[in-house]
């Protein structure tokens, strides 16, 4: 920049105008070797304002990067991909409204989006009514299996259950007493219901399980942390399983540090704390606290290195972190590209049919395969927080774990299965009654 001759303000303005006009005129013309033809539109449904923007804005960026990379590679079916970005503003009804707009006005081939389970639940009827395709990239509570959704985040058996197994193992400290602490909404409540059933099946007594919910944005954790401390003084190794949502985590961890709870005494296993959340914390008092994910930025594979390099280049920021839902979008987008290429069309029914069975290498050296229940296979990693704000992987599953839509540990769903291939073609098939209970779980 400095080597350029000085430009007058007016000339600069003219230049910017021309440049933006060129950009508006269409991405196709700007690049010589770019794909031609009518663009294939995809929808990006992530909040860019409001409380969830902190997590979701990144996912919008990673989608734009993936589309950009694909277009450089020649697009899809010889046509360019055009992202349609909408902002549901962290507002549940607006999610449904924007989803409807994407499907019926913009006629997108598929949608990548949603963050909280509430947002997914509110767009679900729209996708089923208009027969759209949604790729959902976040770990969630399971107990759902829609034909129109591909769940590229973790189901409970791909995050929560292995995490508990680790805590109960020798390396994890052999915990026998569990405090389940969460924010009061659908994901923690359902996850904790599954975990309680699972812990009981492992012989943990009711009196050794403590469950506590707090409102969104809880900032005063004094009472709860001291309760956990008292709960941990029963002579058995105690662990905390945290489903605390986003922002409330910082004051929670600060209070843990202030009350002197260290990871060696009472480890905290978190399901919603990733690299992005740690960016705002002084992690020195947190060293050794745990998180369970299917991806960590620190995992050293060539694919991950290349992805991080692309990300830094695309965002022009060498400090931007990567995280688990970003990898889920990476997998989901590439699977969709494969499915469209296999089907030779973007027709929703044909793409949905082509998806099952596809395999896509993930960023950590494994393979993500699409299962008949529209979930994918994922490896599970347990990471310990380091003082540099990254996670150090201390344990991992030997193979990828196939995602389970319905939990076998909840009596009502124990004999349900999802299978969107012939002949069953049903999201909640009752294996005992040999009957489909309808398209969706009520």
């Amino acid at each position: 920049m400095t080597s350029l001759p000085p430009v007058s303000r007016r000339a600069f303005a003219r230049f910017t105008l021309a440049a933006s006009a060129a950009m508006l005129a269409g991405t196709g013309r700007a690049r010589a070797a770019a794909p031609s033809g009518e663009p294939i539109k995809i929808g990006i449904l992530h909040s860019l304002s409001g409380t969830l923007a902190i997590s979701e804005a990144t996912l919008k960026d990673v989608m734009l990067m993936l589309v950009d990379i694909q277009n450089r590679k020649g697009g899809l079916l010889g046509r360019p991909i055009e992202p349609v970005v909408v902002d549901p503003a962290s507002n549940w009804p607006l999610f449904a409204e924007k989803a409807r707009q994407l499907l019926s006005v913009d006629k997108v081939a598929s949608v990548f989006g949603c963050w909280t389970s509430v947002s997914r639940k509110s767009v679900l009827p729209v996708f089923e009514e208009l027969n759209g395709i949604l790729f959902y990239p976040v770990q969630y509570e399971g107990q759902e299996c829609s034909r129109n959704v591909f769940y590229t985040g973790a189901a409970p058996n791909q995050q929560a259950i292995p995490a508990v197994d680790y805590l109960m193992s020798e390396d994890g400290g052999g915990a026998r007493r569990f405090a389940l602490i969460g924010t009061d909404y659908v994901y923690p409540r359902t996850t904790n219901q599954i975990l309680q059933a699972y812990l009981k099946s492992k012989g943990v007594a009711d009196s050794d399980i403590m469950v506590n919910y707090t409102p969104f944005g809880q900032s005063d954790w004094q009472t709860i942390v001291s309760q956990v401390k008292a709960f941990g003084s029963a002579g058995k190794k105690t662990a905390v399983i945290s489903t605390i949502n986003g922002d409330a985590n910082v004051p929670f961890y600060k209070e843990l540090g202030a009350q002197g709870i260290t990871a060696t005494d009472i480890p905290v296993m978190a399901f919603s704390v990733g690299e992005e959340e740690l960016a705002g914390m002084d992690t020195k008092p947190l060293v050794g606290q745990l998180a369970a994910w299917n991806y960590f930025e620190s995992i050293d594979t060539p694919a991950n290195k290349a992805f991080i390099a692309d990300w830094h280049k695309f965002t022009r920021n060498p400090k931007r972190t990567t995280n688990d839902p970003m990898e889920a979008h990476y997998i989901g987008f590439n699977l969709w590209v494969q499915a469209v290429e296999k089907a030779g069309t973007t027709d929703h029914d044909k793409v949905i049919a082509a998806m099952v069975g596809l395999r896509q290498p993930n960023l950590t050296g494994g393979i993500a395969q699409v299962l008949p229940n529209h979930h994918i296979t994922k490896p599970v990693y347990i990471g310990e927080i380091q003082d540099d704000g990254q996670f150090n992987v201390v344990w991992q599953t030997p193979h990828e774990v196939p995602g389970q839509a319905w939990s076998p540990y909840v009596p009502e769903t124990a004999h349900l299965t999802g299978d969107w291939t012939a002949p069953i073609n049903c999201g909640n098939y009752d294996t005992q009654k040999k009957a489909c209970l309808g398209s969706r779980h009520a």
């Binding site: 707090t214 002084d282 050794g288």
Partner: protein, 537 residues
Amino acid sequence: MRKAGLAFTLCLALVLGSPCAPAGAQEATPDPYAQLASPHFDAIIAGIEALGRSGDDKALATLQALGAHKLMAGSEGVYIHAGTGLVDARTGQQNADIDPASLHPVRVNNRVRLVLATARAELLLAQGSRAEKHDALSRMLTHPDASMLPALDHASADPANKSLRSEFEAARAAILLSPGAPPVALNEQLTAVSAIKKTGGLGARSLLTRAAALEALAPQTREAAKKAVASIDFRLRLWSYAQDLFYGVSLSSVLLLSAMGLAITFGVMGVINMAHGELMMVGAYTTFVVERLIASYIPALSPFSLILALPAAFVVSGGLGILIERGVIRFLYGRPLETLLASWGVSLILQQAVRSVFGPSNVAVTTPGWLGGAFALGGLEITTVRLAIFLFAIAVMAALMLVLRRTPLGLHMRAVTQNRRMAALMGIRTARIDALTFGLGSGIAGLAGVAVSQIDNVSPNLGQGYIIDSFLVVVFGGVGNLWGSLAAALALGLGGKGLEPLIGAVSGKILLLVLVILFIQRHPRGMFPMRGRGIES
């Protein structure tokens, strides 16, 4: 099988460096320093335990380095990252020809950390200073391990350790009551129970609960342990009421601090200031910036950057407040709905501005060492940072009272709010007073932001979490009355923390809000309404 696998992996780890021929010799007595370099936690733990038993001073240095994340593993052993270069942990010699890029930190997990702390305590008991020995003994008291008993007995026989006798006894008692301890006579067991009971607190409760369920102990001992737990529980329950009181007071002080600025802008001036939370957020970000600047330019002052952030936040938020008043609010006096919308707009602008400058993620504000941690006061556990916020809230309140009651500015402020026309006729420049009053309220919001940055996350959304509570405090206490705000903050804080242990955080909050609504219906002007002629209009 496991041993063979271990030797094999060691061999793998070494394969790049030395040939694997002496593997057989290694299997017989594994070299603890080589074990530390293993990628397997089992080998690392075995290495640490061996070093702990060795009683060697190089072993202590190695373990200290591991605890400080300064131990690097290479293909031929482990190296300590000293200030000047790499030191071979086994020999203590400087090693210049090793390439730092070929090394990686020794792997650590929570299990390794536990074993490490135990081994370190064992070594310090033999070689440490008196303070280190004291720490080692309290570590043994909270994490007793039967394997430590010989080292403990050996050290306690040393006449130099006479001054630590009671600590030695307590640590020994804890070990005798833990699983795997050697069997001892009944009366020794009972003495151990009463020694542990004397130490009190959650740690003793944990030890005794475990002892009460331990088959290896005599039935009488287990009975005594059970009784001791019951008596500790009773004592803890009494203390827990006092603890809840402290939590309540602490929450009240946060509420008061965040509401005090609003008590000026909304309470005294009558401006429905929706940007109040964002002024706090700006204060918190000022703390962040000050901390960064000091860390990079005057690192010696780093521990006190929080104190330096106080005037900075007051000036930045206060100045911003004056700007908002001069730029927006002053055109809207007497039009509360427009003020509400305009100040809400300002709050969105501030949020987005901060998001654009600092990014949407949280920023890390560190808590200085002197504010971290907690101390015990009887059975009470007082977290230092909460205590500091409590004292700070009192100080700010006192200072504010002083300004309002004892300075010409305060006199003019009260005159203008009570009767604007009369004050103007007396020659007070009301417009200037308006700006200063708004600036004062905003500056106090900035101070609250500094305090809040120590307990909450500093993100563009910070203000959103406090605005509702702040309005609640001011309205509930009675608009225009600082003492009312104090009473309301106390009522809400104590009420909230009193209900939380009984019915949970969510239901507690709901019940509290219902009670406030009922109260406001009965007394629409809050607990301590202002009276006076000027107020009615």
